[in-house]
Symmetry: C5
Subunit: 257 residues, 5 copies
């Protein structure tokens, strides 16, 4: 998903810079005002510090990173790995999966298989995996909320910055400087609008989408581990797990049943 994210950021910032440059290449400097950057970004994070514990604020880059690095994970591939493990379990017994552990790149699946191999009861396996699912979902949704708050505070501090600029300009009304003063004052509103609408709010939406995707794969993995543990037929497991996908995402099947 990171690619679309990067395309979007380049496109958005590119259009903004182009649209300034069309007003004159030399105007680009007018749009960069370090104190304005400080008041908008700093103020936005100040509100986040007030609302959230230290660890969450200092870890906000992790939520942003997730929106870049989350892989488009293929549920069909996950299903196929589960099915091939179930075939191995049928052929060589559940304990033999021990030897297949290093092939499993999905850590959540590995945890589940490990517990099955260790002989824990299906109820325990299910409950431990469900707690992990809730924890992952909780982390994603917490990240979504934090990024959403940044998207809410940014325009507010944009407005606060503009109000400060306006009061400064008005308190000392010099006809020759009105234009420049208002221009600088408006920059904070512009910054707040851009970082909120091009970055924080879409990133918050993206975390929700990533969560939906990951929840689907984790649910499928959970059902798959339980099915392997109860020794179900690999073909039946495959059919059952594919049911969780919308028809368009299912692989073409050449079943002649």
């Amino acid at each position: 998903m990171g690619l679309a994210n990067i395309i979007g950021l380049c496109l958005g910032w590119g259009l903004i810079i182009m649209s300034i440059a069309l007003g004159g290449i030399d105007k680009l400097g007018t749009f960069i005002d370090i104190p304005s950057v400080f008041i908008v970004i700093g103020g936005t994070f100040a509100s986040l510090f007030v609302a959230y514990p230290l660890a969450s604020v200092l870890g906000v880059h992790k939520f942003i990173l997730v929106s870049f690095t989350a892989k488009d994970r293929d549920p069909v591939q996950a299903i196929e790995q589960i099915v091939s493990l179930s075939e191995a379990a049928r052929r060589e017994g559940l304990l033999s999966l021990e030897n297949h552990m290093e092939e499993i790149d999905n850590k959540f699946l590995a945890t589940g298989i490990r517990m099955a191999v260790d002989g824990m009861s299906p109820e325990v396996v299910e409950s431990v995996m469900n707690i992990e699912i809730d924890a992952v979902s909780g982390r994603h949704l917490y990240g979504k909320t934090v990024l959403g708050k940044l998207g809410q505070y940014a325009p507010a501090f944009g407005m606060i910055g503009t109000l400060i600029g306006l009061v400064l300009m008005l308190a000392d009304l010099d006809p020759d400087k009105i234009g420049a003063g208002m221009a600088v004052a408006l920059l904070t509103t512009l910054y707040g609008a851009i970082i909120s609408n091009l970055m924080f709010l879409p990133w918050a939406d993206k975390l929700a989408l990533i969560n939906d995707d990951e929840m689907q794969i984790m649910e499928i993995t959970l059902k798959g581990v339980i099915a392997i543990q109860s020794g179900e037929n690999p073909r039946v497991i495959k059919q059952k797990l594919l049911m969780y996908l919308p028809p368009s995402k299912r692989p073409e099947e050449n079943e002649e049943a």
Copy 2:
């Protein structure tokens, strides 16, 4: 539903153009500013790229197309086809429906009948059809959300464009150019307001309505296939399925019971 959609777009754009032309036919050019078009539409899609995976953004035209091409489907006609199939099944046996497959223009009904003819159990038929219903509904509602996000980002980028224009104008305050500068600056806000309120937001509403309609027909089709499979009396099937329609949509019945 496409007709109303086209009428609305023509009416809306017609009124906007008329209202400009009344200020002077030669003024129409003033309202077209290519960079402003780029920043609003481009920026809106940039945010969509940040929030959604590549495939969803590149497929957004499909959601828009659906709002034009979705047919007003007549639930009564769907019921009549189901009833006539149930009569054939009663007369000639369930397997004979094989010969009626090519008459069925509703693909969802065809899938259901095919499974019934193939001898799958009613539980499996119902569960497979339900997954298809969820998939169609999920696709429509996903489309509604994406179009709604476009309707939310468009005014934001309209404002961003206007702020850029204002800063450019103010930074270089030339009394003779204030008017023209502000006029151009306001165009992006105007563009954002129009594409959001005349297009993206109503299209999002329309996808929700199309979904309601299609869900109703798919529910009726599902109940109908199950009823045919269990060999119910065609008259009873008809009465039962008509119950799902509000009285005003039911055909006049000349029942003499």
Copy 3:
């Protein structure tokens, strides 16, 4: 309910006209600008055409009419009619209600009694009446949504009209015409605010209230028909149905039990 509706519209428009006239009777003409009326009302309906099927848009006057013509229906009177029918049914048998059909002015009650007289089972009567209740409620709430959308689009097109007017004025900045130009430009925002806040939004609220009232009477009617059909004692029926009303709406009872 129509009376309050008419009082409200007269009061609202009267105050608006008065408030203009106080600025000078000759100023009333300034506030009437046909193209502005077109862009606001036309544009609002254009968006409705995009969002809704043709039939709903062309039928929007029906939803508005309902808000004028819906009668304040008295649930106590409805209960009394049910009770008197139940007395007749006890005295002369259920079939005798045939002769009382023409006295029943409540069509929903008439439908229910007709089905009871025709010997349909209580389950069928209840299910048919429930479908009718859902249909009426669905119609009202659909109307509420459509009027609410008009109330949402109207201010948006008010703003679109104002932006067009401002761009026209600014693009051709003539100091002598600034005032008049802005005055005309603001008219669309004014129109949008008035038709949204004085008409569409309150009408949408009113449809919801009318629906609440009608649902209450229909629920009472349904319970009454079932009670008559099962031959319950008229006194018990009355007590039971009055329970659905808040104490303040119940008639004074001179019960000596």
Copy 4:
């Protein structure tokens, strides 16, 4: 609760008047404009007339009065009265409560006891009292909605009034009168903001709080009447009813059990 309400109104209006007077005592007159008062308050009620039946609009003062006159009712005192009635019932029999009726100042409790004394079954007592609870809650929440609507319409008519004033001023642009014209035009927005934020919206919030308080006492009363009727031990009744209160509101108990 009335005291806080009055303090709030005095404080709010006092600060507003002070803040004007600091700009010059003679300026107070500038802020009073009868037509502006009419358009804001009149228009707000006009929209209410359109949305609500006559009786609700004409009774709106009752909802406002409730926010002043609702007493802070003490649930502990209510519990004590129930406990002392239960002791009397245990000592002298349920029927003896007849003689205690005039001591009961809580009308809802009196109704419940009366029904118990009259020998109605606990089910009937509970159902009649529950209907009364729903009716009281419905009335409060209806009042909250009506006041909330006033709080929503008032700023809208404030803006409508300002737009009318601006158009009047702009249509006849006289440099000497611009200031005064805009000052008057802004008054309606000011009025709308004040009556919405200092009065209607907080009153709507207050009705919700009053409802929460009253619902708690009515629930306790209902449980108490049922407990008395079933002849439970007064000490047990007290313990059970105190459970409904948060620990901080429970009286210090010197129980030596």
Copy 5:
């Protein structure tokens, strides 16, 4: 959590002061206007007085204090204390916990253990502890609502103050004073935006987070007390309670089972 709160406030106010000082150290005085402070903060609390009972308004500082003083409580430590109590109970009997009461710093745990030692039934212990949980949660959420209302009223009174200032300035239009007049008028909007976005709204969010944390620990404590009372194995208790934590918060375990 208090540290992040203080960092946020210092950072936010520091940035605001810096951003003013960059416009000229001597300008800081321009931004302090006592009457503007009064109308915004006073008016905000006036609306709170209208909406809430006296005690809630006068106790608002307690809700704010909670957002500073709530400790980051460590659920693992709470679990360990419960486990060590369960070991003592196993070794020396439930009654021996009497001697450990003074070691328990968690008052809620102490209450639960006291009840267990006093021989109350598990059902009573659970119900009393649940009522306490509801009371704590209710208090937090009430505080969140009150702070949220302050965050909603503050910008409204900021706007009211600005409108008063504008009307004062416009009514007496003196070209030399326009700038200063508008500067002062805008201060109230600035104050409203700052106290709402940097203080009240984030504090409201923080109370919700504090509540989530405390609810988790109280739930764990409740389960722990019940487990101790039923004499469960300390190791099992530990495993069970750790299940309530997300894996990342669980201590590294060197279990060799």
